[in-house]
Amino acid sequence: MSDDTSTETDRRDSLETDGGRDVDYLGAKIHMFKPATPFMRDHLKVIWGLFAVWMLFTFGPVTATWLATDFMTSTQVLGFQLHYFLTAIGSPVGALVLCAVYAWQRDQLDAQYDITHETETEAEAGQAVAADGGERE
């Protein structure tokens, strides 16, 4: 997280000049472990980082319950047994938070690369879609 914010400013500077627009996106190979464009690299960094956290949130509670059954079942939180609380409430809510974080970070990334979804519809002259392409930002 902190790593992300510190590099954000200089990354923006270096990219402001081309905003990612000079890159030939249709010429760059798509391989999920070998990103070929700066945008893919930044995007995958966000994706893999959050995915790792998600793995922990999703399979952490059940694995902990498996490894330390006594501790997890005898500890109580809000009246719940800890294993039950983390699995039934922790994992799902964690996923929601992670989804929101991803969508937000992707918005940041869009801003960094000059991607505006408003112009996407409005800039297209003669398209009758501007009316419904409303972005609430």
């Binding site: 798509i30 945008f39 999703t58 059954t69 079942t73 809000l78 294993h83 991803y102 979804h117 398209q127």
Partner: protein, 551 residues
């Protein structure tokens, strides 16, 4: 013996009485749905299948949630958590956390791809009509298995509300669903899904809050307040309620969870919701909203399980002796046992019907588009007119509807388990093909086809292995291969199946000719940050501004 006596004397749920207010609630709800469907009835193909790609994020989120939350979520998960304890939570975790994987790996890329159906993706991405046919067939299979469970839940609810027999209930509600899907298509159902979400979550929460209040168990946030009840059941009544790995091993827990997550990312009728978003950003935030709306139900479902179990224990008998039917109606049963008035119980039951209708409608749409668009038009008659496609689509809905209604009369397992099977099928066969198709441009046609066959072996094979013996006497009612069923259970085939499919695709792709350049450009376009028009698909852009293929 004991079960049937307990049912009649104590619950009165299935005593056959006609309940006026619940029936009126349901009837007005159905009239409303048909009215909305009629008002938004459509004639163009774009509108029928992707709602003119015009739906915003919150509305789409509600539609995603309503589409998602079938009878299995509304009734079935509470049933499994009460029945199977900690193992049942694998359903809760799998069905909620899966959204995240869907969001980061698929949602926006799918939106950019911009075709009509999931089989379309396979057909275009893997430049293969055979691939399209396999994907379309799988889509039909998934819808088929899934709708059986919905018919089951709808029948149970109709039984309570109208006092008719289970069989009449199934036929009645399935007929109504089929009628309105055929009339309104996707645009109508998107509007309906938003409405259905509001109705189903309202009914669900009303029952939960009312139960919590009247029993003095919870106040404003029942989702977090049932802790002492659940611990009480576990420590004073039966440890089984929360005992980890009592009913299934750690392996099975994880296998089920992974299958439901992969299934979330492979289910055609859910993926198609991203096509209806008005842009990628809305496709992403629509997913976030969708999960939020889903959580309102899933967090409540475990509370229902705890409350229902306590009430059952107090009013009927040991909860461990609950029958399958009782547990499948546990949400409604809970409000009934809490002594709430009939009209309120009826509303909760009507909410379950709304949940079933919304999902069944989405499934019928994806099945009909697979048949009309992918099989009929692309394989059989290239120049089929829009009118012909609509006719084929509607005939598919009618035909499929008739068969699943018949099978729902005698469902093979608990509601959520049947739905779990269709998720596992999607997760095993379709998810790896989608995933690698979007994230690895060198995946080839041959790889995908070989992969899907491997997927069908694990995904469909495991279902046949466990379910077929119930219908065919030859196997004496037992599973065909016990070893196969232990390692690859029908509800959990993706943990073994999905990696096997991915491996197949990767290996076969290495030995076959690379995909053509235009397909690679198509994949690249899905990941490009460049804006696209609302109605544009990756294909339009990737072919150098070439005119889009007329659909």
């Amino acid at each position: 013996m004991i079960e049937s006596v307990a049912l009649q004397s104590a619950t009165g749920l299935f005593d056959g009485g006609f309940k006026l207010i619940p029936a009126l609630t349901l009837a007005s709800m159905l009239v409303l749905f048909l009215g909305v469907g009629w008002f938004f009835r459509v004639a163009s193909v774009d509108d029928m299948w992707v709602a003119g790609r015009s739906i915003g994020s919150i509305e789409n989120g509600m539609a995603i949630a309503a589409n998602w939350m079938s009878v299995a979520a509304y009734l079935g998960v509470a049933s499994l958590v009460a029945f199977l304890g900690y193992f049942g939570l694998a359903y809760v975790v799998g069905w909620t956390t899966g959204y995240f994987v869907l969001l980061i790996f698929m949602a926006a890329q799918f939106r950019r791809f911009g075709k009509y159906t999931a089989p379309d993706f396979v057909g275009d991405r893997y430049y293969s009509d055979l691939g399209r046919a396999i994907a379309a067939t799988t889509t039909l299979l998934i819808a088929f298995v899934y709708i059986i469970a919905q018919g089951n839940g709808l029948g149970l609810m109709a039984q309570y509300i109208f006092g008719v027999s289970y069989e009449v209930g199934v036929v009645l509600l399935m007929t109504i669903t089929i009628g309105y899907v055929a009339l309104s298509g996707m645009l109508g159902t998107t509007k309906n899904m938003t409405l259905q979400y509001v109705i189903l979550i309202g009914a669900f929460l009303l029952g939960l809050y009312a139960t919590g209040w009247t029993q003095g168990w919870s106040t404003v946030l029942p989702f977090l307040e049932y802790g002492s009840q659940s611990t009480e059941i576990a420590t004073e009544i039966d440890r089984q309620f929360t005992e980890p790995f009592q009913d299934a091993s750690y392996y099975h827990w994880v296998a089920l969870c992974v299958s439901l997550i992969a299934g979330t990312c492979g289910l055609p009728h859910v993926l198609v919701r991203f096509y209806t978003a008005d842009n990628e950003r809305n496709a992403r935030w629509g997913t976030v909203w969708g999960l939020f709306f889903t959580l309102l139900l899933f967090l409540g479902t475990t509370a229902y399980a705890a409350y229902g179990t306590l009430l059952y224990q107090a009013n009927v008998g040991p909860y461990t002796e609950m029958t399958g039917t009782e547990s499948d109606t546990l949400v409604v049963l809970t409000t009934h046992l809490a002594g709430l008035p009939d009209w309120l119980v009826g509303i909760v039951a009507a909410g379950a019907v709304a949940a079933g209708l919304a999902t069944t409608a989405g499934l019928f749409i994806s099945a009909s588009s697979a048949a009309a668009h992918d099989i009929y038009t692309n394989l059989y008659k290239e120049d089929a007119t829009a009118r012909e496609q609509m006719i084929v689509g509607r005939l598919t809905i009618l035909g499929l509807g008739a068969v699943v209604t018949y099978l729902a009369l005698n469902p093979p397992a608990l509601i959520a388990e049947v739905v779990g099977m269709s998720f596992a099928l999607a997760g095993t066969v379709l998810f790896p093909v989608f995933f690698l198709g979007l994230w690895w441009e060198d995946a080839t046609r041959e790889g995908a086809i070989a992969g899907m066959f491997v997927g069908l072996f694990f995904g469909f094979g495991s279902i046949i292995n466990e379910i077929l013996p119930q219908y065919v006497d030859m196997f004496g009612g037992e599973v065909i291969s016990t070893t196969f069923a232990t390692i690859v259970p029908a509800t959990s085939s993706s943990l073994i199946g999905a990696p096997a499919v991915m491996l197949t695709i990767v290996v076969v792709s290495q030995f076959t000719e690379d995909p053509p350049e235009d397909v690679k450009r198509l994949v690249r376009q899905c990941h490009s940050p460049m804006p696209m028009e609302t109605m544009q698909s990756a294909e339009d852009v990737a072919t150098d501004g070439g005119t889009p293929e007329e659909e």
